[in-house]
Amino acid sequence: MGAASRLGWWAISLGAFVAVWWLAALIYAEPKLLPTPPHVLDALLVLAKSGALFSNLAITLARVAAAFLLAMSIGSALGILMGMSMTADRLLGPWVVLFLNLPALVIIMLCYVWFGLIEAAAVAAVAINKIPNVAVTLREGAAALSRDLAEMAAIYRFSRWKTLRHVILPQLAPYFAAAARSGLALVWKIVLVVELLGRPNGVGFELQTAFQLWDVATILAYALAFGLIVQAIELGVIQPWEQAVNRWRR
């Protein structure tokens, strides 16, 4: 599928979304509870003009990016290790399940208390929240790796790096895609909570303020702004990447 056609479908789909929303808002007719798209756009423009939108988004995005990269790399390494080594899985498995189910609140609180209300604590808290998620997804992928190909690589004496790059990672591509997509979303959501609990800026902070003032339009404006950014990442990075790594499928 060409980039143009992808963009076209995307526009149709999102157009339909806006239409449904608009209609619902008009029927519901309670702008305080469900503002119409123009309302939210207005709020977005106000935020943009004041500069608050960009500064807050930038701060939040920086945290999201840092935590995402951290969580994806550590989590993938852990997951692949557990998927490929029975011993690692048995030893680390219960820990992963435990950390996976530790409430975000607990991790965030403990991180803040131990490291202080600093940026590193915030990013660490988010990463710790996300790592087990990535790990369990990639573990499944690593456990389902083809034995035939692993044997082939062993016989032809592929180096570790070669095996990883040409044999293992391509098989894990769909798991990476799944982990990255829901990972980005999860990291963003936790960053919001982290900002709520102990950062003096960022979208999460603003959302809470807007919530206290019951300013639904502003809340939706921020949500929309981030949604658009992710859509851009989706269209500009993830989908082209997916298409490239799936070229080989017949």
Partner: protein, 301 residues
């Protein structure tokens, strides 16, 4: 002298006080005696204090008391005695507590919120038994509860004063103020509940600053109580929807400016504490409640 670092809620009413202090200092050509760390949730405030990210924060004193008993050397100085109110729908038929039976009552702050505890104690005299068991309490975040009342999904809401003021301005009926509840319960003079909390060690590192800061608080409270001009200065940052709301907020705030702290206040605070430990139990005051007057501090005047 270094400015004190205060953690506050971005949308908190204490900001009006601090804004005024800052403006007054600037008018006098001095830098503000504090620095703000604005956070988004009450949890964040306690984390900030606990993690040493700020010198002072804002809280009610029962919380500080509990932490003090548990070994945190906290001190407390009040700045407001404003409390919430029970609000009803615009054309609600509810006239007295008895009419609340079987109704949905929103409660901001949860089941061990001090206003809710006091309200239950007070209602006890009006109806037989625990009002909490007679109504259907709906606990939730204050803005959510306001919306629920507006939508008519709940019949009444016991909420914080600033949220009550907003409803008031929109024409919602006021059933009773928590201040009246306290008065009826014999808590006179009305003990101020909300104030600044800090660690005792702050006296050693910034004793002078602390004195100066509370002088400023007192002066700013006085300014806000008397000057309309100070309020028009605040208005743009108050996020008010209408003039009525602005007026309500101002009046509520003014009514909450506490008088001087003395023995009478201490005594009535102690009485309140007794009441709360009876009502809220260990969950509210901790496993071994004890009233420690050493918590309270007031600047030497």
């Amino acid at each position: 002298a270094r400015p004190l670092k205060i953690a506050t809620l971005k949308f908190g009413t204490v900001n009006w006080l601090l804004d005024t202090m800052k403006a007054e200092s600037e008018k006098a050509g001095k830098p503000a005696p504090f620095e703000r760390l604005e956070l988004a949730s009450t949890q964040a405030l306690t984390v900030a204090l606990q993690a040493g990210q700020c010198d002072l924060t804002v809280s009610d004193w029962p919380w500080a008391m509990r932490r003090r008993i548990e070994g945190e050397p906290f001190r407390f100085a009040p700045y407001s005695s404003a409390l919430g109110a029970v609000m009803l729908g615009k054309d609600s038929k509810i006239a007295s507590v008895k009419d609340l039976k079987g109704k949905k009552v929103g409660v901001a702050g949860g089941p061990i919120d001090k206003s809710w505890l006091l309200f239950r104690a007070w209602a006890h005299k009006e109806v037989e038994g625990d009002i909490a068991a007679m109504v259907e309490p709906v606990f939730g975040a204050p803005p959510l509860l306001n919306e629920q009342l507006r939508l008519g999904r709940i019949d009444a809401v016991l909420t914080f004063w600033n949220f009550a003021a907003r409803l008031d301005a929109e024409g919602f009926r006021r059933m009773i103020d928590v201040a009246d509840v306290m008065a009826d319960l014999g808590l006179k003079p009305q003990p101020p509940m909300v104030g600044f909390v800090w660690r005792e060690t702050l006296f050693e590192t910034a004793g002078g600053e602390l004195e100066a800061f509370f002088q400023g608080v007192k002066a700013a409270n006085e300014t806000l109580r008397t000057s309309d001009e100070a309020w028009s200065r605040l208005k743009p940052s108050m996020h008010v929807q209408s003039d009525a709301e602005f007026t309500r907020l101002r009046d509520y705030f003014r009514a909450g400016v506490p008088g001087p702290w003395g023995q009478a206040e201490l005594a009535s605070s102690q009485k309140l504490y007794g009441l709360l430990s009876e009502l809220g139990g260990a969950e509210f005051v901790g496993p071994n409640p004890r009233f420690d007057p050493g918590l309270f501090w007031s600047p030497k005047v």
